[in-house]
């Protein structure tokens, strides 16, 4: 059928007042949609085994702000001194060391020597994890969006491998579309929808073009990956 004929038919049909579904049909369908949600809620409220475990594990993957990390690091060092095999001298060395972020001087308690040339590796601070609230996560998302924004499509494509040039083109289009949606959703306050949209991009759309996708699993992790270099001082 030619375009002209399609347009002629379209023009005719737009002048038509086709039958509309009745009010009763509308109500039946909408009522059924609400009842379906209620029946799903009832099914979900049945006791589930190990639900408490899921609620504990889920937030642990979410690495958080440097402020919480730094304030809890000291508490962990003091509380876990035995486990980390520190003694008081090493803690003093850390406090006095200003030259190297990765290693510290060893203070030797000998009468004629203040310090040796020995150095020990500075232990990696244990970042304490604290389950963030939904509001904290959403605020962090909005903050990241406002200060740094979403990563550019080219940056994301650079982390991916494609066997065909056409796959790269399709992936680029998918990423552009998803980032536009995510940006709009975040600015509209639809944070969970934005997270879902990202999951859809990674697990459905990009899976077709780039199976071993190395993008972060969640939108929050994607944005954090951009900010970590600022806070990660070793």
């Amino acid at each position: 059928m030619t375009e002209k004929q399609i347009k002629q038919l379209q023009s005719l049909l737009t002048q038509s007042s086709p039958d509309r579904p009745s009010e009763e049909l509308d109500q039946r369908i909408l009522k059924a949609s609400q009842e379906h949600i209620l029946s799903q809620d009832n099914a979900d409220n049945r006791p589930q085994p190990f639900a408490w475990l899921k609620s504990v594990i889920a937030p642990l993957g979410f690495i958080r702000s440097a402020t919480i990390a730094l304030s809890l690091t000291l508490a962990i060092f003091l509380g876990m001194g035995q486990l980390l095999k520190f003694d008081h001298s090493e803690l003093l060395a850390m406090k006095n060391n200003t030259n190297d972020n990765k290693s510290v001087d060893v203070i030797v308690k000998e009468p004629n020597v203040l310090k040796t040339n020995q150095r020990i590796n500075k232990p990696v601070p244990q970042v304490a994890t604290m389950a963030p609230s939904q509001a904290q996560r959403d605020n962090a998302l909005m903050e990241s969006m406002s200060t740094i924004g979403l990563p550019a499509t080219n940056e994301l494509l650079a982390t991916m491998e494609f066997s065909l040039a056409s796959d790269r083109t399709l992936a680029q289009a998918s990423i552009n579309s998803a980032m536009d949606d995510i940006r709009s959703m975040i600015y509209l306050g639809e944070f969970n929808d934005a997270r879902e949209r990202y999951v859809q991009l990674k697990r459905v759309q990009l899976k077709q073009h780039c199976p071993p996708c190395s993008l972060p699993d969640s939108l929050d992790d994607l944005l954090i990956a951009q900010v970590i270099p600022v806070f990660n001082t070793g």
Partner: protein, 181 residues
């Protein structure tokens, strides 16, 4: 979430919101597509009650399978595929009626005033519509609705070439009709 924000969301995002328990998201989705779906089925069956039943069944399938929707096709393609499957079941039981579309367009055309030449061409198109098969009429309706050949093929579970030939058939017959007259 407020209704006005939902109206800004895309179809797949609305469906995902509904799958997570947001009833208002389904309402917005339904309002957006109910007329198109109803027109699609009612133009292919000659009883209003049957058309309502088919539309109802299609939306029930959307409700039941909302959580299983995959974004491999657009929501509208998925929705029309469901409606198409309901139509096929109906045609198998009761036979189709491709003349309904012709009758609707014929009524509009008859009520129109317009240039004689354009009127004659349209007349020819409408005459040809009367002789199309169910599958061909469906392909024409989907093309008018704005679906691409690939999407029509997805909806009707056929090949793209089959869709093109169905639409080409209508064109060729129309051309022959004009030449004969």
């Amino acid at each position: 979430m407020r209704r006005w924000t939902l109206t800004l969301m895309r179809d797949d995002a609305l469906l995902a919101a509904y799958a997570r328990g947001n009833a208002l998201a389904f309402e917005v989705l339904y309002e957006r597509h109910k007329l198109a779906v109803f027109a699609f089925v009612s133009r292919q069956c000659n009883q209003r009650a049957v058309a309502e039943e088919l539309a109802h069944d299609a939306w029930m399938a959307v409700i039941s399978h909302a959580s299983k929707y995959k974004a491999e096709a657009t929501f509208k393609t998925w929705l029309f595929r469901i409606a198409h499957n309901r139509l096929i079941d109906h045609w198998r039981k009761y036979g189709g009626n491709a003349k309904v579309l012709f009758e609707e367009l014929n009524d509009i055309h008859a009520a129109q005033g317009g240039a004689v030449s354009e009127s004659m061409e349209l007349r020819d198109i409408l005459e040809k519509l009367k002789t199309l098969s169910n599958e061909q009429t469906e392909a024409v309706l989907l093309k008018i609705e704005g679906f691409s050949y690939q999407e029509i093929a997805d909806i009707t579970s056929s090949k793209t070439e089959t869709v093109k030939s169905r639409l080409r058939y209508a064109t060729e017959h129309l051309r022959l009709q004009v030449e004969c007259s």
